[in-house]
Amino acid sequence: MNVKNLVLVPEALVVAAAVVLLLGGRLGWFRSVTRRYLPAATAAVALVALGVELWAGASLSTYFGGGLIQDRFALFAKAAVLLAAAIVLAVADWTAEDSLSIGLAMPLLAAFGVMVAASAGDLVALWAGLELAAAAGVVMVSLRRPDLALRLLVSGGVASALLLIGLAFLYATVGTSDLTAMRDVLFSGAPTIALAVPLFLAISGLAVRATLAPFHLAGIPAGLGASPLGAGLVLGLVAAAAAVVAIKLAAVLTPIPTVYSSYLEVIAAVAMVGGGAAALAVRSPRARMAYLAAGQIGWVAAGLVSHHRAGLAGSLFLLGAFAVAATCGPAVMGRADGGEHALAGMGALRPARAAGLALAMLSLAGAPPLAGFFGELTVGAALAQSGHFGLLALGILGSLMSLAAAVGTLRLIYLQSPLEDARRGAPLPVLTRLSSIGAVAFCFVIAAYGLLSNPILGLAEQGAEALGLR
């Protein structure tokens, strides 16, 4: 069998599973016995898709006239989101979700959106992938909080408009929407203010999608109001989709970094410091996790400021860690997000989930020796190589505040005595075999990411190289 024919199988599997789940839920196909095994089956589909991606995704190929490209960048990003989707489906507390079929389908569709953006060969596919991921997030939020979903939809619409204006102007300037061709044209062009303004808009649009401070005003409240899975989608997968788009755009714009790097530098700095400070200031565990995620996505943006291969590879490497931790973290937390007391004694009552939650918090804060630490240090090395020591210092400041915030949550989880349910405010996640396995797998991924970071970072390097960076 020609392996090239299997490259799009993961996408097909993910979409087919999502469609079956949505139709099945709508038409009442699933009986109660079937429903019990649906999460495991859906997680298995995501795992199979991941396996196929890792096996067949190494072959380089182009589809739909260059609209989709399978390269190392796509392989890395797709593998990361499929892993995040598989774990989040396994670890979710389904008693805390509003709809089983939609709850199972939306993470798959969001992952599909990221996959489309990751393998996008032109601006249209890039934008479409992002919108698809964001739409899945809106659907999840709307199940519990239609008001917040509307807010997310409107702000997302504004973000989309800003992005489209920027991309349209870019297209008009270079005369092509093909990313590789655009880069070649920009090599012979000069940076102009006329190009900087639309890029300013496009970056702002992406910042809204990625919930980067100070553009987090819709994303984070929506994440706080949604179900645990919905929060993971908005804070993790949608932000990851925006980051993927940003990395691909940054690779295109490397010939003219002056038109965007100053603005991106400010955004990254504000996100890193603001995220850490806000995480320190808030009390709710979910809010704390949301701001930790916002701070770490700031590091991803910081890697793009260096506008060379090491920086983009560092961002991609960190993005993998971020996608898993930010998507699965709220799901691991489950309903125990009402306030500080909700997590009290979780370490004794739900040890696997507690360990997962602790590792997610610490990884998003950049604590050693977890995935986030290695990602942030790799980005830090790239920033040092490119001479951005001020940004590096601000990033470290943000990480230190994040670390202090994460330690506060760890104290709740492990050092406070369990409270009765009435005083807890929210019940702890229901204990199931699948969720325990998912939590253990999540812990393993977060802990092993750093120790196995050489092949992972090597793949990220190849990913950056695939974007045309040398």
Binding site: A313, G380, F389, I396, L400, V407, R411, L415, G458, A460
Partner: protein
Amino acid sequence: MILLTIAAASPTPAPTVPGAGIFTSPLLLSLLVWVPVAAAIAIAVLPNPRGRYDVLMKQIGFFTNLGLVFILFIAYNQFEAFLPTAQYEEKVPWLQAIGASYHLGVDGPGMVMLILSGLIGIISVLASLGVRERVRSYFCLLLLTQSAINGAIVARDMFVLILFWSAAVVPIAILILGWGGPRRRAAAWRLVGYWGLGTGALVIGTMTLYAAAGGSTFDMDVLLKAAISPRIQVAIALAMVVAAATRLPLFPFHGWARDVYAESPIGVNVVVAGSAARLGAYLLLRTVVAAEPAAAHLLSPLLAALAALTVGYAALAALRTVDVRQMGAYLSMIPGGITMLGLAALTPLAIAGSVLSLFTGGMAAALIVGACATLSDRAQSRSLQVLSGLAPRMPILAWLLTIAGLAVLGVPLLGTFLAELLTFFGSFKNQPIGAFAVAAGLVVAAVALASVFRRVLFGSPNPDAPGVSDASLGETWYLSLLAGALLWIGLFPSGPKLPGTDTPLFDQGLVNVMAAGISDIASPYTGATPTPAP
């Protein structure tokens, strides 16, 4: 004779010692780093319904540390004294894209730190035997802390160093938050804040060094020997000074010390004061004194000033405080100031003194904070206005506290004496003002100690004070081990010998071991050494 041996550090064949050659492992240092992690994981996953196996958890912690000390004993006795290069090296490519490798190795000063960490590890477990709540979590975190400290000592790659240096912050902060005194929250946040600042400075310094050296590797062998302009050397050195000053601690970066030492559980106190804090001076030795001679020369007055201010401030604060644990906290800063004076002097003798004071200072600091904490526990009061006339009622603790105070001051027969002697002899020429200021600070500290001892230990008993009891067996053991180690180094700095021979009984001598590497570190500064008269 000893002084000249250390100063010259001439390569002489080391006599065979017991333990040498009986066991070799290419993973010796990795064992020291990862065995505590494995034990911590074992403790974490072991079922412990209603604390039924709490004793087993403590035993795992104790025997893990005992095993580590055994491995260290072998490493120590197989160590090639006077060999300037790193030994027991392990190097595995890791993050090749950014040039980070899993590179471990240890030279003389590193071996001194490892011995310190090993002893402190076992002593901290003994000091923690009284822990009753959440025993599993406590010992798990204690072992992780020890692993991080060992990792930072043996790291030969700056990336690995950052990893382990920063990894110690989280478990120590949680230990304080979970098992500390009434003001534990403030103590933990101060620790996170100050040590976080130090970690940030270390990362910035390292990244600057990495970028200045071409951005291709984090390996210390390359990075610390790279030709870098003096201006960048100074910037890097300043970052490293901040990192070291927050950890050691040095004035004005000492804000965490009072609260942490006063509020932490005793076992954590011992680890922090004994080995974790010494990493600051060790970092400075490695990255500034050994690697950036131009910056070291330029910043040496600053370092001497920091040393003098630290000792002076600590002594005055100890004189004024009315809390016995805070007094211990302030006094524990003094050995760090002396180590820093040695590093500021930049002479081979002073550097040798500062390396020796890494060990003796760590032991003395752990002893004074441990003794003060145990005294306050046993006397049921921390107030120096309440405690009085305790010596007849707690003779063991009174003796140990007295030895602790004398160790901080550096009186003869104790290891700190030798370290201070080397430091002062080596620094009076290059940093006379700093040396005199530090000496004056020691005099003030002596006054503070004398006045406290006179009242608290030997004054007339206070009838209104709560009841007191002497140290328990576990407390006696951990404090005696600290005092014994200081006495051992004070009496046998070159190790005990068979009578009439140069054959070591079982210890080739800490000063011989530490000499390996010092000659290399001190080589840029040999011109400043006064030549001994023929």
